[in-house]
């Protein structure tokens, strides 16, 4: 059972604090924050999501820069608590439209209302946005999204290293549109995070796709939905031989949201469900089948005397030319004794930035856009503060890449159609099916 739940800002301010059992001291939020903050000083690493201080167990997840924390004295399932914290964040987001410090502060009464229904006396009751609707009466004060997000649109894809990008939908599930009528629409996002490791010779060492089909429904009256995937979709390696050979999509494994019914999944790869309100993953999948990596990276390091070297980075976009990747960041750790780095971009380069991070000795190369089929090169001249000894390739690298490619997915998994049970002949809600590919860990060794 949960003793307390609280939300802290990055500075450690208490934004929300709810005590359910009264068996953990009140100062727990400060104890927690101090522990997390000074963890690095103790062990040079970040605090794990679960730790114990004086018999109190602290669980936390980071969501949009906020810390969602639960405490308990009981030996609980860590998965359960961490999942719960993530769900609470999602429920709050569903209600407020946008989740951040400001929106929580403006709506704290609503948030407390939610918290009272989600957990009673430390026991989880429900985290379903849909179910909660009937118990929650405050209306959200919607904050202006544009004003609060000065960062570029892709930045929401960059929150955390592994976080699933949220859909761009920032509408509350309960608030009405200015016109008073809700727009009937449904969003289905196929989000794939890819991890690739290239060896120094460019050979693919490991590759994996972690995908999610995420849904957010604003349909009234909870109609049933059918979601059809590729018919030749195979799951598990045992299916491998029976599948129709090349071209088919083979998933290693997948799991489903509890609302999904798989009655006809084995026959025609269709998922049927009555989507609950709010955002939720319909299906998570994992794939290690070979795929064509969207980017190739070439790194060349040339020593020029004992105090200088030149790094040449070349990235080639190996996807169709009608597709464009956004916000590409190439990073490379340089030798510790690098004193200076000067950069030379190719002629006519637009929207590219270069930087040498003095403190971390890291080279950073940003590209706003890369269209399919193109190639880009960066030359960096390094100056060292001490003479080179040994192999420079052991002191630098690996090169890592982050990027987002909208309307592209590497697995070839597709939503063939999205069928909504019709209430009337005129009922034709908006359907948005979107694909996005994102780098999770995209690394080239040198």
């Amino acid at each position: 059972m949960i003793s307390q739940f609280f939300v802290l800002s990055q500075r450690g301010d208490n934004i929300v604090f709810r005590d359910y059992r009264g068996d953990v001291q009140k100062g727990s939020a400060e104890i927690f924050f101090r522990k997390v903050k000074f963890w690095k000083d103790d062990g040079e690493e970040e605090a794990p999501p679960v730790f114990n201080v004086d018999g109190v167990n602290y669980f936390h997840v980071k969501v949009v820069g906020l810390l969602f924390v639960a405490t308990t004295r009981v030996n609980m399932s860590p998965s359960l608590v961490l999942e719960l914290l993530q769900r609470i964040a999602r429920v709050i987001k569903d209600y407020l439209g946008i989740l951040n410090e400001d929106s929580i502060r403006k709506n704290f009464v609503l948030v407390y209302e939610l918290l009272d229904e989600v957990i009673d006396f430390g026991y989880v009751q429900t985290t379903s946005t849909e179910v909660l609707k009937s118990y929650v009466f405050n209306e959200p004060i919607v904050i202006d999204a544009a004003r609060l997000q000065p960062l570029n649109p892709a930045s929401m894809f960059m929150q955390g290293t592994k976080r699933m990008p949220g859909t761009a939908v920032t509408k509350s599930v309960v608030a009405n549109d200015p016109g008073g009528r809700k727009r009937e629409e449904i969003f289905v996002d196929i989000i794939e995070k890819i991890s690739v490791t290239f060896s120094s010779s460019g050979y693919i060492l490991t590759s994996e796709i972690d995908g999610t089909i995420q849904m957010k429904s604003y349909l009234s009256g909870n109609p049933e939905i059918r979601l059809a995937l590729n018919e030749d979709l195979a799951i598990g390696t045992s299916d491998y031989r029976s599948s129709s050979g090349s071209g088919s999509v083979i998933l290693d494994d997948c799991n489903f949201h509890e609302s999904v019914r798989l009655d006809s999944f084995d026959i025609d790869r269709t998922l049927s469900l009555v989507p609950p309100d709010g955002e939720f993953p319909v299906m998570n999948y994992r794939m290690t089948q070979e795929f064509k990596p969207p980017f190739r990276i070439n790194t060349l390091i040339e020593e020029a005397g004992s105090l200088r070297a030149e790094v040449i980075l070349k990235i080639s976009a190996e996807f169709p030319s009608n597709i464009t990747a956004n916000t590409i960041i190439v990073q490379m750790p340089l030798p510790k004794y690098t004193a200076r780095a000067t950069f030379e971009l190719e002629a006519g380069a637009v929207g590219q930035t270069t930087d040498f991070k003095e403190s971390t000795k890291r080279l950073e190369w940003g590209l706003k856009k890369i269209s399919g089929g193109s190639e880009h090169t960066l030359r960096a001249k390094l100056t060292f503060s001490q003479e080179l000894h040994g192999n420079i390739t052991k002191e630098a690298g690996p090169v890592s890449l982050t990027f987002t490619i909208p309307m592209y997915n590497v697995s070839k998994l597709q939503v063939k159609y999205l069928q909504i049970a019709k209430k009337s002949s005129s009922y034709n809600p908006y359907r948005w099916v979107r694909y996005v590919t994102q780098a999770n860990s995209y690394v080239a060794r040198i």
Partner: protein, 844 residues
Amino acid sequence: MAPPAQSSRYPSPSQPSGKGEVSDLRLQLRQLAGSRAPGVDDSKRELFKKVISYMTIGIDVSSLFGEMVMCSVTPDIVLKKMCYLYVGNYAKVNPDLALLTINFLQRDCKDQDPMIRGLALRSLSSLRVANLVEYLVGPLGSGLKDNNAYVRTVAVMGAVKLYHISASTCIDADFPATLKHLMLNDSDSQVVVNCLFALQEIWNSESSKSEEATREKEGLISKPFIYYLLNRLREFNEWGQCLVLELVAKYVPSDTNENFDIMNLLEDRLQHANGAVVLATIKVFLQLTLSMADVHQEVYERIKAPLLTLVSSGSPEQSYAVLSHLHLLVMRAPYIFASDYKHFYCQYNEPSYVKKLKLEMLTAVANESNTYEIVTELCEYAANVDVPIARESIRAVGKIALQQYDVNAIVDRLLQFLEMEKDYVTAEALVLVKDLLRKYPQWSHDCIAVVGNISSKNVQEPKAKAALIWMLGEYAQDMDDAPYILESLVENWEEDAPEVRLHLLTAIMKCFFRRPPETQKALGIALAAGVADFHQDVHDRALFYYRLLQYDVSSAERVVNPPKQAVSVFADTQSNEIKDRIFDEFNSLSVVYQKPSYMFTDKDHRGPFEFSDEIGNLTVGVESEHEVPATSVDANETSDLLLSTTEKEETRAMVANGSDYTAPLYDSSSRALPSQGQSELAITSLLGTSDPGPQASMAIDDLLMGLDLTAPPAPASAPPSLKLNARAALDAGSFQRKWRELPVAISQECELSSQGAAALTSAQALLQHMQGNSIQCIASGGQSPNFKFFFFAQKAEEPSVFLVECKINTSTAKAQLNIKAEDQSTSHEFSALFQSALSRFGMS
């Protein structure tokens, strides 16, 4: 909610007390209280919000209590909810105010709107004020019978809240029985789930006082009830399913068909997107198949893919929780995961707590077919910018080398590390090369060539320096300049850590025996510096060497540098018993912390169905790294946690006695134990270490008794009149003291029922049973068929205690008892009671 009262008591100078604002609010509230003007609710809402926001930031607004309650006489549910929030916050710290609200809440409990009934009831039961319980019973009673499910779910939780304020009121009102009825009959799944939460908590706490509660608690894992829950499983939401699955994992089916039925029913739960549901299901599968080795292995195969999917979906925090469990399974059965090693490769952007787990998994799964690739990957991390991970990676390579038969390639890699010229890489690699040489002396030639090239000036870390010095001493004959390097090291005597100085002394001694003329000078300096050293151990060792040399040089050589056998296995840092306990606590924090729950929770908080014993008090710090010295051949794999305590204490004692050379003594003690085919004898550590003589003889006595089966079996029934205290408490220290002080009152053998012997598959099972008979266990150990326990019990009316040492052999179904009693006159009565309790084990 933030603590308002506290901050009002200690007003911070920087924060305005808000007095002006509060009186302002009071005025406005008063104006609105009686008003029936249109839109008045909206203005009230604004005001209420203000009050609550003050409350959250710590301004004391409790003086507005009356006005707030007055304003809440309204059908507006938003207002009511805010008022409840306010009331709930202040009633706890101000019981007088709470009394005021009772009326108001009680009235709302009868409202037409079920939402208001529910909310009022929740607020009423959340007041947590002891003198108000009389007002709570009525509304709770009607709440439990309400025709609206929401009100019932709230009322069920209310009953537990009442139990916490006043257990007797809750029991007297017969709420547990009502809850049980609801649990078995209610149509609403959340009501059923809440009843289960509530009853687990109530019965768990009552079971120490009442046998009925114990029976009820056991009833929760009875076949009919488990089947009832399983049949309704799909109705429950994911959190409810977690609760039910946790319960099912405790259930022991009567035959294998049942096992398979349950697993078939639950198999689709493995595809759930919620990691908590999947892990709870896995726990059921693992527990159900514990006695079916081949099916158990199939379960591992089956759960691999879902676990890996969970690890790679979801937030980093969630994947960490799942990965910890995967880690546990990999450590238990590495061979099953050997082909999945690529999943355990680290990604550059993962947090280091994830990387650490992955490195351990990579180390565990390394076998002949994948070692090359794994080591290649690990070598990449060794050059990592993340220094702690780079270090761990090098250690991982070393561990793999130590567990492999074919270490050719790995040794080359390690030697390459030494040539990388990064200080921390060199340091870690030196330590590893040292360990490697202890296991594979045949590699000395290759290693020494490389080690010889390392300048000792580049090695600063004490551990690494000590390793280098050890190698210099050990292989003095193969390294031309060993005496001279050692000599130069002696010159900086003062600057080195005591650990290094100790090694330096020994290394110089070893070198001296091989190359006396070259080393004599260094030895002289070292002994002189050592004898003058302020560090006790260094001083003592130097003096010891000095006298030894004075006595006889060849004896000195036999003592300091005897021929060594290679180390075959390095001692595991964690005992098997601890690992098994963690495994039994699958899907809990124990897995993440890699400690059994008794090490990090107090007794009241181990959660439902985690039966505890007091062994934890005896084993503080067991989990710390512990390495068996080189000469202790064949480290005892089965050493249990008690054994490791003994070793530790012995080691400490030796060090205190001034000799760091614990190996020979140490060796003899740890070798004597495994020769018995079990490690339980080390329980003698309980008896304290201050007096090792009698202790050792006692262990032998124990042995003899174990063989002596002549004692007559005692009568097993006859209801004894002695009453025991069900909540007896005794800490490990007092137990040890009393055990030392008291004489053995009764020593005899008794028999277990055949069912009892069969049921005793783990020590845990008997502990629960004896606890039910008011006999507590303070330490236990052993594996089938031999178990050993220390129990204690206390008389109900007086503090007089009984202590029992009980050794059970399940294959012969016999138990050997040694009973000590503070009150000797009742020892026979107690013995009869104990034996009758023991004989009933397994009969229920």
